[in-house]
Amino acid sequence: MDRRVVVTGMGVCAPNGTGLEAFASALGSGRSGIRFEPELKALSFGCQIAGKPLFDETHLNKYFKPVQQRGLLASGLVYGVMAGVDAWEDAGLGMDAEEPDWDSGVIFGTGLLGVDKLRESIYHVDAGQVRRLGSTAVSQTMASGISAYLGGMLGCGNQVSTNSSACSTGAEAVLMAWERIRNGAALRMLAGSCSDSGPYIWGGFDAMRILPRNFNDDPASASRPMSATAAGFVPGSGAGALLLESLESALDREAPIYAEVLGGSVNCGGQRAGGSMTAPNSLAVQRCITQALEIAGVHPWEVDTINGHLTATGKDVEEIANWSKALGRKGPDFPYVNSFKGTLGHCLAAAGSIECVASLLQMKEGTLFGNVNCEDLHPDIVPWANPDRIPQKPLSFTPNILAKASFGFGDVNACIIFKRFTP
């Protein structure tokens, strides 16, 4: 029998807030985490703004021993550990057991881990100084460094792995974890994703000229999902984490429950029919949403809230149209929809998990977080979704059925259906 799966813990390390409390307050007030980055200016980037988590050394010391901080350059690893450990502790789980916890695992995705460490290593190797790499060059730069690190800190004895599917990585991780628990292969899975910050991660996107270049002196206005003046996505970074657990285990432990994961779907547009390495095949997006609903056992009319991928490019209109077609709901009948990228930027591999955390905080707080920077809503969106479906300010509303989607390079899609928990 399929097991029911719930979320019992969350953690986040985001550009506009580290820790659930700070993050929720930033989303509630529309506070931006996008800032001017002098380093990007010095390197002659076109886009010199980005979203990067901020925290002090005291905070870092809570997660990493002094010896672990030596030569620690993998920023994504740092963000991921903060979010992952927080989610674990938020779920009321301990880290001191002597034996592995055979029923708990980790699926924590990333795009490219530890690029700054990789850069340092390449300089050493090219200088004939391979011996100077130290003992952590591998663990900081292997993609699975983040799941390995967390697995060790938490003592997980079930599957410990890293997935990678570009900007759908975080949402995919949640679905992989959901599947494993549903099938009875694990009781608890820490699901999440992280993304490094810095010029070596963001440079490739700047070179593709898909980042906004005219907001270097006005960072908070730069990321404009669904706006007529959307000028490209603002690069971000950070990590989000959710502790997924079988309902039975959560009830046994009397753990607080944020939401139920009803299910979801991942697919790919095959880079056909309008799909490419960088653009989505609309039919595949619609199929992904439809399949997610089918698997979750939810009727399209039951969805009351959408958290989109909506990165602030010309593709936002197409995404809204795809939601509308997949749900068979249009204009005034369209569900509420928001994008958190207006304040976060696009946190790439970390986007899906950070936005899942934000989505579920809405259920906890009874607030639908508002969209920022789309006061000039794109006119082509209006036929699909009435402007009142796209709140500009926080709304006193508790989502019951929330659909979260993430899409990524490679024409890959992921859609998760969450439900407010009712026993």
């Binding site: 021993k65 002094p66 010896v67 100077r132 003992s135």
Partner: protein, 84 residues
């Protein structure tokens, strides 16, 4: 540099690598890094790099492998610095 100063410096350098259940006071000249001080053998690689930086010397591969105890390290440091 006298032997005492070298020993003190070395102890401070090794301290952060000790597992939580081993105190800096447990370090003796004859202590074996891995077997007695329970230092992770991967971290021994980092200790060698720290020794090189701290004492401004370069250790060859064979010398790195021979550096098993605190006394081995002190002897290496003395020899390397004398040879400069």
């Amino acid at each position: 540099m006298n032997e005492d100063a070298c020993y003190t410096q070395l102890k401070a350098l090794v301290g952060p690598y000790l597992p939580e259940d081993v105190s800096v006071d447990a370090i003796r000249p004859e202590s074996h890094f891995v077997k007695e001080l329970n230092i992770n053998s991967a971290n021994l690689v980092d200790i060698v790099l720290d020794v090189e930086d701290e004492f401004d010397i370069v250790l060859e591969n064979e010398e790195m492998e021979a550096m098993q105890t605190v006394r081995d390290a002190m002897e290496l440091i003395r020899r390397k610095r004398a040879a400069r």
